[in-house]
């Protein structure tokens, strides 16, 4: 254990800080959940890519910098500390990208990773179906072979980014009559393929951030399948591991929110409830604990380890601390909490953030499912219904 950064790491931090100071937009972008804001965020992704900052851990040949996970964490700390925009590219770079690294063919890596890091292709997730939410193995949408194509029929829903994104990835039933986890394949598809209908869904905040997707005889080339036919569940679980585990929610984002919460508390200190004071202190404690844990997980992976079921502990912790921090802010704001713009005309980001934080314990596998996984796989308690 060594709690100091090397000279190289400090020089890298300085380089990131300098680039961000010169490039992060001064005025906040519109929310990426609306069409105009989405395109602003895509523009920001391309600006990041122009400085080779799209995904620093990827090999240079794919537009990355070939850096390690500690340097990635340093990048993220500076990124969120500088107040840089949310990553509209996150489904690609944090979820699908690492999955393609592990399971893709050389042709697939060359074809998909470079435009992903460059922000040229923005990805949507297509997991859930009307009858397959927490129980993802209940997927019914089919993709049956017809020569060198799959023909997809069915429906996906709660598809993040799908209202505006370019491509999608998800699980489809490729074996007729197969059940549960068997017979599923992981398929990538162009969202503009004939036969796909997107129906944007208006979310809690009023914007169409996710969509329903209807597939009507959609023909997708077989080379768009990741890993073997019928191996989709294994691949999807790896993606979900990334989602719950290390990458999707880097600590910097929460640490930045905790710092803003401390500032908010100072402004409202005279009117704050005594409980708010401890909640603000706890926001610092919990976001720091999350950061230490992430550094430990990164070190473990760098030493050849893997993320297992403990990713579930991670997901429970970050999603609930985010909700608690934003709830505390809503309470500090008092009567102003409901206002969409605050007195200075700025968007009430605490309100927007609180609404968003309510989705955290639901998506990427609800926290009830994560608690079951924790109890059964980490603690060894009997499976539900095992009697």
């Amino acid at each position: 254990m060594r709690l100091t950064y090397t000279d190289t790491q400090q020089a890298f931090r300085a380089e990131v800080r300098e680039w961000l100071a010169a490039n992060v937009p001064h005025a906040p972008l519109l929310t990426l959940e609306c069409e105009e804001g989405y395109h602003q965020h895509v523009g920001w992704e391309r600006q990041l890519a122009s400085g080779n900052w799209g995904m620093v851990t990827w090999p240079e040949s794919y537009g990355g910098r070939g850096l390690d996970l500690i340097e990635w964490l340093i990048f993220e700390e500076e990124y969120w500390g500088a107040g840089a925009p949310l990553r509209v590219n996150q489904n690609g770079i944090f979820l699908l990208g690492p999955t393609i690294m592990d399971y893709g063919t050389p042709e697939q890596k060359a074809r998909f990773l470079t435009p992903m890091a460059a922000g040229e292709v923005i990805w949507a997730q297509a997991w859930s179906e009307p009858g397959a939410g927490s129980d993802m193995a209940a997927i019914k949408t089919t993709a049956f072979r017809d020569g060198d194509h799959y023909v997809i029929n069915g429906q996906k829903t709660w598809s993040s980014r799908a209202s505006f994104a370019d491509w999608g990835f998800g699980l489809f039933r490729t074996e007729e009559g197969s059940q549960r986890h068997k017979g599923l394949s992981f398929i990538l598809f162009d969202l503009d393929t004939p036969g796909i209908t997107r129906r944007p869904i208006r979310q809690l905040h009023g914007h169409p951030g996710f969509a329903e997707l209807f597939f009507d005889d959609v023909r997708v080339p077989v080379e768009n399948r990741l890993a073997g036919e019928g191996e989709g569940w294994t691949v999807a679980m790896a993606t979900a591991g990334f989602e719950r585990g290390l990458m999707l929610r880097s600590p910097g984002r929460f640490q930045a929110a905790a710092r803003r919460l401390v500032e908010l508390f100072r402004q409202h200190e005279s009117a704050a409830a005594p409980s708010a004071r401890e909640a603000v202190t706890r926001a610092w404690m919990d976001t720091q604990a999350y950061a230490y844990n992430t550094y430990a997980v990164a070190a473990k992976i760098m030493a050849g380890g893997k993320i297992g079921a403990e990713a579930s502990l991670n997901k429970i912790f970050w999603s609930e601390l985010d909700r608690t921090m934003h709830r505390t802010a809503m309470q500090l704001l008092g009567a102003a909490a409901e206002l969409r713009q605050l007195a200075d005309g700025a968007i009430n980001e605490w309100l927007e953030g609180y609404m968003f934080s309510l989705s955290g314990p639901i998506y990427a596998g609800s926290n009830e499912i994560q608690r079951n996984i924790t109890a059964e796989r980490l603690l060894g308690l009997p499976r539900v219904g095992a009697g």
Partner: protein
């Protein structure tokens, strides 16, 4: 920057864990509770592993290890609810003596013949001291009224708080294990009670609390070993989250045990009472929360993502 604990550092703690698991089971706690609370044979076993001299420099015959190693072992002591005063003496009083340059007794300490204790003003008692006995709810704790030198120096308090936090993590881990074991063997409504989600989710919450208390503890131990300027803040952080995790583990474990958990017969009570004791020792919740509050809200410590390891 490396938050991984090196495998060779874990080896000693694992050896201590194995030794204690084999020699210091619940039967020992019950035997000590029925008798004089201390057993020279148990102490001798710890001496033979070199533990009283863990933090004593090699030049004085000790193992010359650091506070992270000591915290790893203090956690193991918590896990078995060790009665002998190893942690308070060897991992709190001894480094405090060494920090003051008081090295005259180190040879006797390494040999296990001298067990120094340190009295701090924040505690109204001394553990295993020589003053008037005071009764603790923890039947294996030997508290005495302070007599002689009572310090108010922050370093001693930080050593005591850090090592209490380490024991609290071990205590909480053991209570979680006991609750899991019981939830598997106890059946009601035709199935193990651990198959019910109400039980699963309660115990999963303990696992979450522990998962995010441990790295705080290791970070605090390394920071205090480095004598980092912010070490006191990190020690307070560790003491708070370890105390909260231990209370949560204790209350969850007794609930999962049902009425059995409310009896003196089930071993859980030894761990639970030690957790209450150490949760309040060396600065209770309010003290440590106030130190964090002063740093974070008071603005004396840099916060935010760029300052993770400030």
């Amino acid at each position: 920057m490396d938050m991984l604990i090196a495998p060779e550092r874990l080896e000693l703690a694992e050896a201590v864990r194995d030794y204690l698991a084999g020699t210091h089971g619940p039967d020992v706690l019950r035997r000590l509770d029925a008798g004089p609370n201390r057993d020279p044979a148990i102490w001798q076993g710890l001496v033979e592993m070199g533990l009283p001299g863990l933090l004593v420099p090699e030049s004085h015959g000790g193992l010359g290890m650091g506070l992270l190693d000591a915290a790893l072992i203090a956690r193991e002591c918590g896990r078995v609810c060790l009665a002998e005063p190893l942690v308070e003496s060897a991992f709190v009083a001894v480094p405090w003596l060494i920090a003051q340059g008081r090295t005259a007794d180190l040879a006797a300490i390494v040999a296990g013949e001298h067990r120094p204790v340190a009295a701090h003003a924040i505690n109204g008692w001394v553990a295993d001291g020589t003053g008037e006995p005071m009764a603790s709810i923890d039947p294996l704790r030997r508290l005495t009224a302070p007599s002689g030198e009572v310090s108010d120096v922050p370093l001693l308090l930080d050593l005591g708080a850090l090592m209490s936090a380490a024991q609290l993590v071990g205590l909480a881990e053991a209570m979680l294990d006991q609750a899991v074991d019981y939830a598997i063997i106890r059946t009601q409504f035709g199935q193990p009670v651990g198959a019910f989600q109400a039980i699963k989710h309660k115990l999963a919450d303990v696992a979450v609390a522990l998962e995010f208390a441990r790295p705080v503890l290791w970070r605090a131990a390394q920071a205090l070993d480095d004598r980092a300027a912010s070490a006191a803040l990190h020690v307070s952080h560790a003491k708070l989250v370890a105390t909260d995790a231990a209370y949560l583990a204790a209350e969850s474990a007794i609930q999962v045990h049902g009425a059995m958990g409310y009896t003196y017969e089930v071993d859980l009570h030894f761990w639970m009472k030690r957790a209450w004791a150490l949760g309040g020792a060396w600065g209770a919740r309010a003290f440590h929360l106030a130190r964090i509050d002063a740093a974070v809200i008071g603005g004396t410590h840099p916060i935010g993502p760029e300052n993770t390891f400030a």
